[in-house]
């Protein structure tokens, strides 16, 4: 579930701005596009032999790759000089803002240009809906949140900029007047998810979100919060019905039935920073003569960034309205969700529009803490009822309150996703979860690895551990007894679309030495003067957002060299290598060139979109899909763990088309097989072995020979494809070479020989029905963890002695990257559980004083570098690639907390658990 995105065609029409999202094409020397296409033709490609990533050489040689690496002089056609801009953000959200103290910006500190709210009003800038809120705090208003920008200062020279940023770091540049207290806004979103299962597993649900629709309370308190009680609101019948069932569930939990163990617990999670190592950065140039705005950005959501800038300037006065926006998207120095739909690109664009020469806006780490997207802090109140006789969970009720910070961003979506994750891997017949994301004066919270499920599943897995120990049931057996099986219904009321491998995961955990030897290790700790504990957790995490798009172009040249272009972005996740490997399965070789983060190379498809794929009704979709150019969404952010599943999907489909209609007919010719030969129809039986296409009793054919023949006979040598998934892939049929080709794509263009791309009209398109928007998730991966900790009694110092993670992710496209993601997820989980924390308000990052000195992330010495074992379950037959980048982080946190309980007897209900707290628990 993600909030709606902009509508490309509508927006472009409305703004009158033409969007191009990649290249200048002016290069006589290596320009941006050449630098970002890796590894580059004729260059060493470590991925070709599985011995590295396609970006491997670039990253170990310091090649210009990230947005922060580029200056105007690096970009052919740009003026050589780069100016520098800085955002001045407010550290006060309790008083009326009275403006910039210009007397402090005299002499060397005087900028060439100052941009404020008044300037944006003057030029007619328009804030995109997703970023609603003043981009700059207007004079006379209390800032909406800590860290809200108040002014943009632009300096012509780096030296002037550098002197100014040093001088202004601790200067009170902004003036404030009367105290008002924080700005009060209504909540960002409130939902209630209530499910009552039928009497038997096969019976329909009595009530569920899938059956009855998603509901929100209709009334709101004066302070901005919802009223959860069942109220007779005129339009709230659906809500009243769900609330009625919900209240029954809560009443059962309150009834003190002796047969039922009821635990009633509070859990709090903290705000943290994604802490990607490259602070947000952008470079822009507005060429006023050509009315052309050039942007160089590093974001997870390139499509949103470009269209949001178009919205920002689409209604502006003539001399502030570009005719063209040409956006280039670079590799990123980390993302973790924190670069998905960030407002930063808007400020980069504004700097260029007001300066009209190349200008760079780069946050330092203090500014990144002050202005970057954060993970939501949660307050979670849970009640769980477990039948004492059977050890089965009978009912679950929870209330979640999220601190969304100053702007809405993804808060409503995070609230919904995290609520849908509230019962984790379990099969619970009665569930009632309310969730609300609140506005606050804190720094804006949004997408971050785990997307709310980290918080709610941590609270859950700690609670499960307590329930098991209270009932004296082995924690793994308790989980096994309650685990949702394949075919069982989630709390939204749907079944998963994948096999649920929880039993295997639990078996692996139970059999592992860390678990089997936990008693001996505890005793060893006692003898050594420390306390030792072992913890377990098992979670499931969705991959996909419920409306995900994939765009790719695959080409084979006459020499058999493969190139791939894709709209998904590289932030360390290895999407480029995954693309190359997935395509290689169809075309027999790893690509020589992979370009990611490209959105504008697909003009031949002529795609258009309207409406919001997350909320549209069936009639609207049915009407829209009659236009063969229409798709529900054109391009998606690289987020929600969709890289493998979605990001590579359209490339795989494009490669299949090339094989079937280009390489296979060429191979038949080379083998001398007539189309009537029975073997000619057995293209699916052909296998690539060491770069050669093989069929029994036929000469193995090298790709280069087949490619040359395919080009010569003008077969299909390139294809571009678009795919859309709403918890199921769209399907359509295309006429290619006189044959009907049905595939999980909704748009296709092919090139024959060295000709031009020709768009093929689809027939019989089948989009997933819009009722699927009621599904919480249907794609999910599982991960379990064991952690053994040893805590020094005297100091509370915790050492992770050994740990084991077992996960399943379907077919791993690049196993080494899966392993690396799991190791990194472990480290991030350790940081979240034990180290990282940001105060929400005046003492927090919004004050502009935070850096890595105070904010601690996991270092090597915090981790069991020789004691972490990771197991990836082999894929099931026909398993697709599944997302795994988020799920690997989540169980680490509750496993640590459960290990700490096992060691200390203290069940911590708030994060992080610091050394000081552990020391307190042991003395």
């Amino acid at each position: 579930m993600k909030a709606s995105r902009r509508e490309f065609a509508k927006l472009v029409t409305a703004s009158g701005i033409a969007l191009s999202l990649s290249r200048l094409a002016l290069a006589n020397e290596p320009g941006f596009a050449a630098r970002e296409t890796l590894p580059g033709r004729q260059r060493w490609n470590p991925a070709a032999t599985g011995a590295g990533r396609i970006d491997g050489v670039a990253k170990v040689t310091g090649a210009k790759l990230y947005a922060s690496d580029f200056r105007a002089a690096d970009l052919p056609g740009w003026p050589a000089h780069t100016a520098h801009a800085m955002l001045i953000r407010t550290a006060n959200a309790m008083h009326i803002y009275e403006g910039v103290d210009l007397t402090r910006l005299s002499g060397a500190l005087k900028p060439s240009v100052i941009v404020t709210a008044a300037d944006l009003a003057r030029i007619g800038a328009r804030v995109p809906k997703f970023y609603t809120g003043d981009l700059f705090c207007p004079v006379g208003k209390t800032p909406l949140y800590l860290g809200q920008p108040a002014a943009l200062l632009i300096y012509e020279s780096f030296d002037a900029f550098d002197q100014a940023r040093l001088a202004l770091r601790n200067e009170a540049l902004l003036k404030f007047g009367a105290e008002t207290g924080p700005v009060v806004e209504r909540d960002y979103g409130a939902f209630r998810f209530t499910r009552v299962a039928g009497a038997t597993p096969d019976a329909p649900d009595v009530c569920s979100p899938v059956k009855d629709g998603w509901v929100s309370p209709g009334f709101f308190q004066d302070g901005g919060g919802p009223i959860w009680a069942r109220l007779p609101v005129p339009t709230g019948a659906a809500y009243a019905s769900a609330a009625s069932y919900g209240e029954q569930i809560r009443a059962e939990l309150d009834a003190n039935a002796p047969s039922l163990l009821v635990l009633d617990r509070e859990f709090e999670t903290q705000s943290v920073d994604p802490m990607f190592l490259e602070p947000e950065c952008g470079l822009a140039w507005y060429d006023a003569d050509r009315k052309n705005l050039e942007l160089v950005l590093g974001v997870q959501s390139p499509y949103d960034a470009a269209t949001s800038v178009a919205t920002l300037l689409g209604n502006a006065r003539a001399n502030f309205k570009p005719a063209h926006i040409n956006a280039h998207f670079a590799y990123m120095g980390g993302g973790f969700g924190g670069r998905d739909h960030t407002p930063f690109p808007l400020y980069v664009a504004l700097a260029a529009m007001f300066l009209r020469r190349p200008v760079r806006l780069a946050q330092d780490r203090y500014q990144q803490f002050q202005g970057g997207i954060k993970r939501h802090a949660f307050k979670i109140h849970t009640r769980i009822g477990v039948d004492r006789a059977t050890g089965k969970i009978s009912a679950f009720a929870a209330d979640h309150v999220l601190d969304g910070g100053g702007l809405a961003n993804y808060s409503a979506s995070v609230a919904a996703v995290s609520a849908n994750a509230a019962i984790g891997i379990y099969d619970v017949p009665k569930v009632d979860v309310t969730t609300v994301a609140l506005h606050s004066r804190g720094v804006t919270a949004g997408s971050m690895r785990g997307y709310g499920t980290l918080q709610t599943m941590t609270a859950l897995e700690v609670l499960i551990d307590e329930a098991a120990s209270t009932l004296a049931i082995d924690p793994i057996e308790f989980r096994r007894r309650n685990a949702l099986r394949t075919g069982g219904r989630t709390m939204a009321g749907n079944t998963y679309d994948v096999v649920v491998r929880t039993p295997e995961i639990l078996d692996r955990l139970e059999q592992h030495a860390i678990w089997r030897h936990r008693a001996e290790e505890k005793a060893r700790g006692r003898r050594a003067g420390s306390v030792v504990g072992t913890g377990v957790a098992c979670v499931t995490k969705d991959y996909g957002s419920g409306a995900d798009a994939s765009l790719s172009l695959v080409e084979v040249d006459p020499e058999g060299r493969i190139s791939i272009r894709c709209d998904h972005v590289e932030m360390g996740n290895g999407i480029g290598t995954a693309l190359a490997n997935r395509v290689a399965a169809h075309l027999g070789a790893v690509a020589d060139e992979v370009a990611v983060a490209e959105v504008d190379r697909f003009g031949a498809l002529g795609l258009v979109t309207t409406g919001d794929p997350y909320t549209m009704d069936q009639a609207t979709q049915d009407a829209a899909q009659r236009n063969p150019r229409w798709v529900p969404a054109i391009s998606s952010p690289t987020s929600s763990s969709i890289g493998a599943h979605v990001g590579t999907h359209s490339a795989s489909e494009a490669a299949r088309v090339i094989f079937r209609f280009g390489l296979w007919p060429a191979a038949l010719e080379l083998w001398g097989l007539a189309p009537t030969d029975p073997r000619a129809a057995r293209w699916e039986a052909a296998r690539w072995e060491q770069g050669r296409l093989t069929m029994p009793e036929l000469r193995p054919l090298p790709l280069s020979e087949i490619a040359a023949r395919a080009h010569a006979r003008k077969g299909v040598t390139a294809a571009m494809a678009h795919s859309f998934s709403r918890w199921a892939w769209s399907k359509a049929t295309f006429a290619i070479g006189g044959q009907a080709w049905t595939a999980e794509i909704d748009a296709l263009a092919v090139r024959k020989g060295s000709g031009k791309f020709v768009r093929l009209d689809r027939a019989d398109v089948k989009y997933p029905p819009t009722v699927f928007n009621r599904i919480g998730t249907s794609y999910t991966s599982l991960c379990g963890a064991l952690v053994r900790v040893e805590i020094e009694r005297a100091t509370g110092a915790l050492r992770i002695d050994r740990a084991y993670t077992v996960l399943e992710c379907g077919r791993a496209l690049t196993p080494e990257i899966v392993l690396g993601q799991a190791q990194g997820g472990f480290a991030m989980g350790v940081g979240y559980a034990l180290l990282e924390s940001l105060p929400l308000y005046e003492d927090g990052p919004g004050n502009g004083q935070w850096n890595l000195g105070q904010y601690l992330i996991a270092r090597g010495s915090d981790l069991p570098l020789q004691g972490l074992e990771i197991e990836v379950l082999p894929p099931l037959p026909n398993d697709p690639p599944k997302g795994m980048a988020e799920v690997v982080m989540i169980p680490i946190v509750p496993a640590l907390l459960n290990a700490i309980f096992d060691a200390t007897g203290r069940r911590f209900q708030a994060l992080p658990v610091t050394q000081q707290m552990l020391k307190g628990a042991l003395t």
Binding site: V60, T61, D74, E816, G825
Partner: protein
């Protein structure tokens, strides 16, 4: 203002005047265009900005550049990530980083590469016992922050270079 000269990746730079407060990181990135050296925190905490300083006595060590003035590097000889490979030929450590998929986003890679290279050169002069190797690597890399990888593959990459030539690096 200070006039500085230095050698960077074997090439002489300067004399050139720099403001006294200009950091070495900005000198490399903004004045020389050597953006392989990254900016991470500006507080000397993440070491993604670390470069190698080759001392006159033949030893080498790393230094952050984000909190150290360029003027402090006057007369020094340094190496950055751009200077490891020669004529397109990667070093053993660069290859090992690639072979092990040691990095993900790669933003911290320059710092780890420099630290690892210094470690290899130190061990070539002062080998350690195999039993002490893991701790030696951990001590060398600790303080370098990576948000993607969990550090394990970086450790494995440098360890494998050492173990591939035990006579050179181990007692």
């Amino acid at each position: 203002m200070t006039t500085v000269r230095m050698r960077i990746n074997g090439r002489a730079y300067g004399p050139v005047t720099v403001r006294d407060e200009l950091t070495m990181n900005d000198f490399l990135r903004e004045r020389l265009g050597l953006t392989g050296t990254k900016f991470g925190c500006g507080a000397g905490q993440c070491l993604s900005c670390a470069v190698i300083i080759d001392d006159p006595d033949g030893t080498s060590h790393t230094s952050p550049t984000c909190i150290v003035p360029a003027a402090s590097f006057n007369g020094k000889s340094i190496r950055t990530v751009e200077g490891h490979a020669t004529n397109g030929e990667l070093t053993a450590l660069q290859r090992s980083f690639i072979d092990h998929f040691a990095f993900q986003c790669g933003y911290c890679t320059a710092g780890f590469l420099n630290e690892g290279q210094v470690l290899l050169e130190r061990l070539a002069k002062t080998p350690v016992a195999r039993a002490d190797l893991e701790k030696t690597i951990a001590d060398a890399f600790d303080g370098h922050l990576c948000r993607c990888t969990g550090y394990i593959k970086y450790h494995e990459a440098v360890r494998d270079v050492i173990l591939a030539d035990p006579g050179r690096y181990l007692t």
